[in-house]
């Protein structure tokens, strides 16, 4: 095949961003007249292959070597290296997940081919031009590969899994030759630090707190608003790093992905790591003192002002409406 999508095993199920990568690959393929295939690795490879068995692809390759039964960077990098050498795809795509960041550069160095990461779109011409956010999403860049093969990863929500075309791929088991000495790292079992009893992903309304809340004593301002509009509290990373809110409330690349009916962003600048986790929200109201804050780029309502003054007044006004 011409475009290979590497599927990610997300604790036994297909990672959401692998579906988006399939949608992206299919779009590229139909525009460039290329064929698509997928690769499933590890002890859950059959499950993953099954999950994509009704999508429009030429074939799904399955690798079940016991050294890559579960994820490890050494084994994955070498497996994909060998599959690329065997199958010679021109473009190898994945979702830009934490796992991708961990081993895809290794593949790039092994094969001496470029890895263009975290792209938000592709412009087609003689050669595809990959579009990436840079400088914390304040600017965008056009990138091109200077090689015959290229590794690319798609940013979360760059393509929608709703766009996946259906079809019937062949399933083909292939083997790779891995030596046990290759695996140098020892991975312990993944764990959750604090189990969240809050299901942010199904919340209709989210009030999210960023650095602009200034200090821990101001956090109740957000809770008061959330209470009156029936929302859940979430936050950006700096607030969690400061210990003002627990990790399970964090939204973004290292936290949860949400798409509520209303996302109320209080004092959130809109760093890309946060935005990837909430840009699918149906409506975004952002409050920030800085009129240039990147969050305003994706907001439906941009409130330029001091949240410490506005939000308590808003809470009072909404309470008065209810009473």
């Amino acid at each position: 095949m011409d475009i290979l999508v590497v599927l990610e095993d997300n604790r036994g199920v297909l990672h959401r961003m692998s579906r988006e990568a399939i949608a992206g690959a299919q779009k590229l393929a139909s525009n460039m007249n290329l064929s698509v295939g997928a690769l499933a690795i590890g002890e859950n490879a059959d499950t993953l292959a099954n999950e994509v068995a009704n999508t429009n692809m030429q074939e799904v390759l399955v690798v079940k070597n016991e050294l890559v039964a579960s994820y490890n960077a050494d084994g994955y990098a070498e497996t994909i290296n060998q599959v690329i050498e065997q199958e010679s795809p021109k473009i190898i795509t994945v979702g830009h997940t934490y796992q991708t960041r961990d081993y895809f550069p290794r593949v790039s160095a092994k094969l001496d081919i470029p890895f263009i990461p975290d792209i938000i779109g592709v412009r087609l011409g003689d050669d595809p031009v990959f579009n990436k956010q840079v400088f914390n999403a304040k600017l965008a860049a056009d990138l091109t590969a200077e090689a015959d093969q290229v590794l690319i990863s798609f940013q979360s929500a760059a393509y929608s899994e709703d766009e996946i075309e259906s079809g019937k791929p062949l399933i083909r088991e292939i083997s790779v030759n891995l030596d046990p000495s290759l695996i140098r790292s020892e991975s312990e079992k993944p764990f959750q630090e604090e189990a969240g009893e809050i299901d942010l992903e199904s919340a209709e309304v989210i009030v999210s707190v960023g650095r602009g809340i200034e200090k821990e004593e101001n956090i109740p301002i957000a809770f008061d608003l959330a209470k009156v509009i029936g929302g859940e509290i979430a936050s950006s990373r700096p607030v969690v790093d400061s210990g003002w809110l627990p990790l399970f409330r964090q939204i973004g690349s290292s936290g949860q992905n949400v798409s509520p009916k209303l996302y109320f962003a209080l004092g959130i600048s809109g760093a890309i790591q946060h935005v990837v986790g909430m840009k699918g929200s149906k409506n975004i109201i952002a409050v920030n003192k800085d009129s240039d804050a990147p969050i305003f780029e994706i907001a439906d309502y941009a409130v330029v002002g001091d949240l410490l003054e506005i939000i308590p007044k808003l809470t009072d006004a909404l309470q008065a409406e209810k009473d």
């Binding site: 550069p105 790039s108 470029p114 304040k138 312990e188 993944p190 002002g305």
Partner: protein, 256 residues
């Protein structure tokens, strides 16, 4: 224990980002530069590892034009032992493989036990240099380190996974590990440190001595992103804003 910390100098988060006339990069002369955020955490982690084992050397390594010597000095002032400056003439390189090969050619004879980098740079955000370098130097690698535990010939790294999950991973040395922001509380340089930094060595390597002839990817153009989102801006005094917000929540969004 020899530890290298790769540090990038990037525009500060408040800096304006004017484009150059041809739109291929930003105009360096109008920008305030700082140490890349996650690199600062990587440096702090290196200093703590050296302090914990009470032995070893921390070397700060940076690539770029002359201005990057400021972040090297900052690293030396915080306690690093020496610096290496890979010079770049003109516009900085953005191709991760090209950058990693430059670092590889300069660092391979140093035989570092540990290379620490920030997770990604705040300019191009490619997030690859340390891992590429690790692979090119035959090191084991890990990313998104949020805690480390150094032993004599291994390092345990607590990695951040997605959605609040973590995983400990043990790597044999030599290893290259990328560090996530928030892993520690970076120190400020002391006055004594600042004075002492002036006497510390910075080795300078000319571009012709490290830069490969090939390129693997190119950044052809920068531009200001266009949004097709219709945004209503609310400003003015707090009462005006609050009245409009209540209306939006009631009529437009039907939240209340």
């Amino acid at each position: 224990m020899k530890i290298a910390v790769l540090i990038k100098q990037v525009p500060g988060s408040d800096s304006a980002l004017p484009l150059t006339g041809d739109g291929t990069w930003i105009d360096d002369s109008l920008i305030t530069f700082v140490m890349n955020e996650s690199d600062n955490y990587a440096l702090e982690e290196a200093l703590r590892i050296r302090e914990k084992i009470n032995d070893g050397e921390v070397v700060v390594v940076s690539m770029g034009p002359d201005r990057v010597q400021r972040v090297i000095r900052e690293g030396l002032a915080k306690g690093a032992d020496r610096g290496i400056h890979l010079e770049e003439d003109g516009q900085i390189e953005t191709d991760p493989l090209c950058i990693a090969k430059s670092f590889t050619s300069v660092l391979e004879d140093e035989n570092f036990d540990l290379v620490l980098t920030g997770l990604q740079s705040d300019d191009t955000g490619m997030g690859q240099t340390g891992i590429l370098l690790g692979e090119l130097l035959g090191m084991s690698t890990a990313t998104l380190g949020i805690e480390t535990d150094i032993q004599s010939d291994t390092i345990r790294v607590k990695r951040e996974l997605e959605s609040g999950w973590f995983q400990w991973i043990k790597l044999p040395l030599p290893a290259s590990v990328s560090i996530q922001s928030g892993i520690n509380q970076p120190r400020y340089p002391s006055l004594k440190g600042i004075m002492g930094a002036k006497k510390k060595e910075i080795k300078i390597v000319a571009q012709s001595e490290h830069r490969p002839d090939t390129k693997w990817q190119s950044l052809n153009r920068l531009f200001i992103p266009q949004t097709n989102k219709q945004t209503e801006t609310l400003n003015g005094d707090a009462d005006t804003i609050v009245n409009r917000l209540v209306e939006i929540l009631r009529s437009d969004l039907r939240i209340i």
